[in-house]
């Protein structure tokens, strides 16, 4: 397996365009957390023509709702949540300059189209590995919507956060291609 590529946020067009579906990456730098409720609020701001709580250009959103931090720690477990719940909101954010999303599970046709058109990528992190992934989170800052608890928008400083490129700027999709290569019409073995 090829070595993981080290990338840093904010993501430039050049870096985004160089990533290919199937690449393993180690992400460093600041990313923003947001999930269902925060996306709904940002969507309402966009509809009303108001500014988002942070400048989204070049940024990466991590779909995560961490567990509470134990005393002496900055964050609890923090693995990705299912990305498709954010599909309704993602194209508008991508059009505004969002360059990357980290989550788990497949994206809609509309989101993939927006990623091709505006040059953005979608990464998957290992779902359910929240204790392991939290080790790559070095700083946490509250940005907005503190009342939403785990769903608030936070800024996380990542260091070598492991992820895999699922959708690239050419419209490739690792979920489709990966499964296609291992699908068996006639099962070969009992497991």
């Amino acid at each position: 397996m090829a070595e993981a590529k080290r990338i840093s946020t904010a993501l430039s067009i050049e870096v985004v365009s160089s990533l290919r579906s199937g690449d393993r990456v180690l992400i460093s730098g600041w990313v923003y957390t947001a999930r269902d409720a925060a996306h709904k609020r940002m969507h309402d701001l966009i509809e009303r023509g108001l500014d988002l709580p942070f400048d989204i250009r070049g940024q990466v959103i991590y779909y995560v709702g961490p567990s509470p931090a134990k005393p002496g720690r900055i964050i609890g477990s923090a693995g990705p949540t299912t990305a498709s719940r954010m599909d309704a909101y993602a194209p508008a954010l991508i059009a505004m300059g969002l360059k990357g999303m980290i989550g788990k599970g497949a994206r809609s046709r509309e989101v993939i189209q927006a990623m091709i058109q505006h040059k953005a990528v979608y990464f998957a992190a290992v779902g359910g590995a929240g204790a392991l992934l939290a080790r790559s989170i070095k700083e946490v800052e509250m940005i907005a919507y503190e009342d939403l608890g785990p769903e608030a928008i936070r800024r996380l400083k990542l260091e070598d956060f492991p992820a895999i490129v699922i959708n690239d700027v050419e419209g490739n999709d690792l979920y489709l291609e990966g499964v296609r290569s291992y699908r068996q019409e006639e099962p070969k073995e009992t497991w």
């Binding site: 397996m1 609890g76 788990k104 359910g128 204790a131 291992y182």
Partner: protein, 280 residues
Amino acid sequence: MREIRTDQIIEAVREMCMETNYDLGSEMLRAFEEALQVEESPIGKDILHQLIDNARIAREERVPMCQDCGMTMVFAELGQDLHIVGSHWLDAINGGVRVGYQEAYLRKSVLNDPVHRINTQDNTPAVVHLELVPGDQLKLMVAPKGGGSENMARLKMLKPSDGREGIKQFVLETVSQAGPNPCPPTILGVGLGGTFEKAALISKKALFRPLGAPHPDPDIAGLEKDLLQAVNALGIGPLGLGGRVTALAVHVEVFACHITSLPAAVSINCHAHRHKERIL
């Protein structure tokens, strides 16, 4: 008549909420090691290694293995000769959840109802199923159920003529549609028979069986084996990125049904297959 106090229930539930979230247990770790022997996909193998590491970190550091600490499911088997003394037994179960989720820094993911969607802030109420059984003991089975896998569950009232093949197609369709969302490798609980709600209930309870233990009826055990083989031939693999290991086990439970019916339900659990039981 034998008696237990509700504070014993609170304590047992509190402890199981913590332990299920911190400690994945040996049956799953064994299953990951076995999966590594079968998995051919390099990314799939890498993911299985990450899951083994993740379970070790969670256990050693006493942090939840997954940030989704679930909605708490409790299956209670109450012996008819046991007397529960103290507060209301359901309050005791919810009391255990409340204290456990607070003390263990677990995420509170429960909303008051799906319309108002207000977080109850303490992960209560639990979803509780009570069965009255012979004896004078109370068996409590606790499982935090994550949303990602729960949202992929399905139920279909098949026609009797659909038969075994129809059951298989429904299970395969469910797993295919779920794809990466339920965090494979998964455990599948398949409930066949009964009525609409009974099929769903036995499919969920099937998840509690020791991992991979076959059904006592050899025909049903054969169906489990067939289904597991067919599911793993789909190629979905660890986290849905392609591979040989999509499910670690298929547990089928059956119940009597009406001459016109073939209810089929599929419950899916993610690789954070957390469950513990305690007898009081």
